[in-house]
C-alpha cells in the first residue's frame, strides 16, 4: 500500500522532534556532571567545620583543660558500631605499656552471632571499667589497690603481694597476673634476620614500662612480676596531657575518653544518649566504661 504524503511528513516531523529532545537531554546531563574542584585554600575553608569536630582534637583539648582542674572523673565510651575489630588499640596498649607475653589490658572480644546466612560479628574492646564500686578494691588484703579521686582504679606494684583475690573478685576478668614471661622470643632460635622484627624487639624488651609515672624495668622477679596488673587509662599519658594510647590509635574513632564532670565534654554528651549500654550492671559495680550500641 502506498503511503500518503501527509503520513510521510508526520513521520519526518516526529523523528526531528525526538532527535532534538535527545540532544537537549544529553546537553543537560553534560552540564550536571561537571564538577569544579576546589583549590586547597577553598577546601580548607569549606571543611573547616568538619575538622573542628574531629573527636580526637576535641578530646585532646578537653583533656588538657580537665587535667588542670582539681575535680575530674575520667571515663571511656566505646562506640561498638564503629569498632571494626582491628585490634590496633590492643597493640597500641601493649606497646605503650611494654606489656610482656601473657599480659593484655585491652583485649577485643570478637563474638559471632546468628546462623548462616544471617550471621554477624560483634567486636567489644574490654579495658578496665574503673567501676564506681569496684569489687577488686575491698578484697585486697594489704590495700595495694584503690580508686583515685579522678576515678582511676590503680595498683601499687610495690605493695601487691600477688594473692590474686582481686582477679577472682573482678566480674569482668580485666585483671591479669604477671607470671614473669620475659619476652616474645624466648624459646625461638637466636638466628638474626630470620625472624621478622627480631632486631626491634630487644629494645622493646629492655625499655622500662612507664606505668603509674614510674619506671618499671623488667629484671628477675622484681615488680610488676608476680603482681596483679590491669589497664590504668594510661595514667602516665593523662598526666602529660595526652589521651590514652588506645583512644588515639583507634582507626574508626570508636573510643572516646574524657572527663565526666565536664558537662560540655564529648563523653558527657555521649553517655546521655539512649543507646548507651554497660556490662553486668546488675552486680552493682557501676562500671565507668560505656558502650554505644
Amino acid at each position: 500500500m502506498e503511503e500518503s504524503r501527509r503520513e510521510f511528513f508526520k513521520k519526518v516531523a516526529g523523528g526531528l522532534i525526538a532527535g532534538a529532545a535527545v540532544i537537549t537531554v544529553t546537553k543537560k546531563a553534560d552540564t550536571q556532571t561537571k564538577v569544579e574542584l576546589p583549590t586547597p585554600e577553598d577546601a580548607a575553608k569549606r571543611y573547616k567545620k568538619y575538622l573542628a569536630v574531629d573527636p580526637l582534637i576535641r578530646m585532646q583539648a578537653e583533656l588538657k583543660e580537665s587535667v588542670k582542674k582539681p575535680e575530674k572523673r575520667w571515663i571511656m565510651v566505646i562506640d561498638l558500631r564503629k569498632c571494626v575489630g582491628c585490634h590496633a588499640c590492643t597493640v597500641a596498649c601493649m606497646a605503650e605499656n611494654k606489656l610482656p607475653p601473657g599480659i593484655v589490658y585491652r583485649p577485643v572480644m570478637d563474638v559471632e552471632t546468628g546462623q548462616y546466612p544471617n550471621v554477624s560479628r560483634k567486636f567489644t574492646p574490654k579495658p578496665c571499667f574503673h567501676c564506681e564500686n569496684p569489687s577488686c578494691v575491698p578484697v585486697c588484703p594489704v590495700g595495694a589497690t584503690w580508686k583515685r579521686e579522678d576515678g582511676i582504679v590503680v595498683i601499687d606494684y610495690n605493695k601487691c603481694i600477688g594473692c590474686r583475690y582481686c582477679l577472682i573478685a573482678c566480674p569482668y576478668n580485666v585483671r591479669v597476673f604477671d607470671f614473669g614471661y620475659k619476652d616474645y622470643l624466648t624459646g625461638f632460635p637466636a638466628s638474626e634476620g630470620l625472624i621478622l622484627g627480631q632486631e626491634g624487639l630487644n629494645p622493646f624488651n629492655e625499655k622500662p614500662s612507664l606505668e603509674y609515672n614510674k619506671k618499671w624495668k623488667r629484671e628477675g622477679h622484681k615488680s610488676p612480676v608476680s603482681n596483679a596488673r590491669k589497664c590504668h587509662f594510661c595514667m602516665h599519658r593523662i598526666s602529660a596531657g595526652m589521651l590514652p594510647a588506645c583512644t588515639v590509635t583507634c582507626i574508626g574513632r570508636a573510643t572516646y575518653f574524657g572527663d565526666k564532670l565536664n558537662p560540655n565534654s564529648l563523653v558527657s554528651e555521649l553517655v546521655k544518649k539512649p543507646n548507651v549500654m554497660r556490662l553486668r550492671v546488675e552486680l552493682g559495680t557501676n562500671p565507668q566504661c560505656y558502650y554505644l550500641v
Binding site: C160, N173, G180
Partner: protein
C-alpha cells in the same frame, strides 16, 4: 615397740621422699616463678588454694569433732590421744600456711597482711584467724603435754578449765571455716559461690573430713587399744561419723535445691568428677558404717579405718571442684578468644610441678609428726584411760 619403729621408718621414708620431690619443685618456683604452675589469669586460684582449704577443713574438723565429742557429748576417753591430736593439728595448720604461702606471687611480702592490713579483705581476716587458731592449738598442745608430765598447774587447768580451750577451739575453728567460706561467697561476680550457703557447707564438710582423721588417729594411737573402752569409743566414733555424713548430705541436698542447674553442673564437672567423691567418700562409707553398727569389736575398727581412709582420700575433690570449676566458666562470652596465650584461658589442670610443690608441706608435716611422736613418747607418753575416772 617393733611395730612402732617400723611405722616410724615408713613415716620417715614417705616424709623424706615428699620433701625431696617438693623441694625440687620449690627450687623451680624460686627460680622460674609462677610460670611453672598451670593456673591462668582467668583461673587464678588452682590446686594450692583448694589444697589449703582441704587442709584447714581437715584440721578444724578434727579438733571441732574432738571438742564436740569430749566437751558436749562427754566422750572423755578420747582425751587419751589429745597430745597426738593437737600435734597433728598444729602440723596440718602449719603445712596449710606453707601451701598458701607458696601460692602467693610475692611470698616474702605475705607478712604485710599483718603489718599493713586492709580490714575489708576476707583474706586478711583469714590470715589473722589462722594464726590465732594455730596459737590456740599450740597452747592446747602445751597444756596437754605438761598435764601428761604431771605438772600440777597444767593438770589443774586441764581438769578445772579444760573446757575453756575446748570451747575456744570450737568457736575459733567455726569462725575460721566460716571466714574461708565467706571469702568465696562474697565474690559477687561468681554465681556458683554467691550466697550464704557456702560457709555452712564448708563447716559441715570440715566436720565430715575431720572426724575421719580423728577416727584414724584414735585407732592408730589410742593407748587403750584392746580394752572395752577402745571398742566403745570406736563404735561411738563410727556412729558420729555416720551422723555427720548424713547431716552433711541432707544439708548439701537442701542447698543444691536452691542452686541453679548450671552451678550444680559446674561442681560436678571438670577433671575430677565430684560424683566419685560422693560415692567413694560418702555413700560407700555410709554402707560400711551401717554394717559397723552390728559388727564385733575386731571388725569394728577395721571398718571404721576403711571408711575413714576412703573419706580422706576422696573428699579433697569437693573443695577442688567447688573452688576451681566455677572459675573455668567465661563470665562474658568472647574473652577466651580475645587474646590468645596459655595464661589467658579458662582451662586448668594442675601441672606436675604444681602437684609436686604441694607435696612439700605434706612431707614436712609427716616428718614433723613422726619426729614429734617420738619426742612426745619420750617427754610425755600417752596414758591409758581404761578403768580410770576421766
Amino acid at each position: 615397740m617393733i611395730k612402732k619403729i617400723i611405722w616410724s621408718v615408713i613415716g620417715l621414708v614417705i616424709g623424706v621422699v615428699l620433701l625431696v620431690i617438693g623441694g625440687i619443685a620449690f627450687s623451680k618456683l624460686l627460680k622460674e616463678g609462677h610460670i611453672i604452675t598451670n593456673y591462668t589469669s582467668y583461673v587464678p586460684w588452682g590446686l594450692g588454694v583448694s589444697w589449703y582449704v582441704y587442709l584447714v577443713w581437715l584440721e578444724v574438723g578434727t579438733l571441732l569433732s574432738f571438742a564436740i565429742l569430749v566437751y558436749i557429748f562427754g566422750l572423755k576417753h578420747l582425751k587419751s590421744i589429745a597430745t597426738i591430736l593437737y600435734l597433728s593439728g598444729f602440723l596440718i595448720l602449719t603445712s596449710a600456711v606453707l601451701t598458701i604461702l607458696m601460692d602467693i606471687g610475692k611470698m616474702q611480702k605475705a607478712f604485710d597482711i599483718f603489718f599493713k592490713p586492709h580490714f575489708s579483705s576476707m583474706i586478711a581476716w583469714m590470715a589473722w584467724m589462722h594464726v590465732a587458731y594455730s596459737g590456740v592449738v599450740g597452747l592446747e598442745l602445751l597444756i596437754s603435754i605438761l598435764a601428761n608430765r604431771g605438772a600440777k598447774f597444767a593438770i589443774y587447768i586441764d581438769t578445772a578449765f579444760g573446757w575453756i580451750p575446748g570451747m575456744v577451739s570450737i568457736v575459733a575453728g567455726t569462725v575460721l571455716i566460716s571466714i574461708i567460706g565467706t571469702l568465696f561467697s562474697t565474690v559477687s561476680g561468681m554465681a556458683a559461690w554467691r550466697g550464704g550457703s557456702l560457709p555452712l557447707l564448708f563447716l559441715l564438710s570440715s566436720l565430715v573430713a575431720g572426724i575421719a582423721l580423728l577416727s584414724i588417729i584414735y585407732i592408730a594411737f589410742s593407748p587403750d587399744k584392746g580394752t572395752d573402752v577402745y571398742s566403745r569409743v570406736v563404735k561411738s566414733l563410727g556412729k558420729t561419723t555416720l551422723a555427720f555424713i548424713v547431716i552433711a548430705m541432707i544439708a548439701g541436698f537442701g542447698v543444691s535445691v536452691t542452686l541453679r542447674t548450671s552451678v550444680i553442673d559446674a561442681y560436678f564437672s571438670g577433671a575430677y568428677n565430684a560424683i566419685w567423691a560422693v560415692i567413694l567418700g560418702l555413700v560407700i562409707p555410709i554402707i560400711i558404717l551401717l554394717l559397723q553398727l552390728t559388727s564385733n569389736a575386731q571388725k569394728s575398727w577395721y571398718m571404721l579405718t576403711a571408711a575413714s581412709i576412703l573419706m580422706l582420700i576422696s573428699l579433697w575433690v569437693i573443695p577442688y571442684n567447688v573452688i576451681i570449676n566455677p572459675q573455668m566458666v567465661e563470665p562474658i562470652p568472647g574473652i577466651a578468644e580475645a587474646f590468645l596465650h596459655e595464661k589467658l584461658t579458662y582451662l586448668y589442670t594442675p601441672s606436675r610441678t604444681e602437684v609436686a610443690l604441694n607435696m612439700l608441706p605434706i612431707g614436712i608435716a609427716i616428718l614433723g609428726f613422726t619426729l614429734g611422736y617420738w619426742i612426745l613418747n619420750w617427754i610425755s607418753p600417752l596414758k591409758p584411760t581404761a578403768g580410770k575416772e576421766v
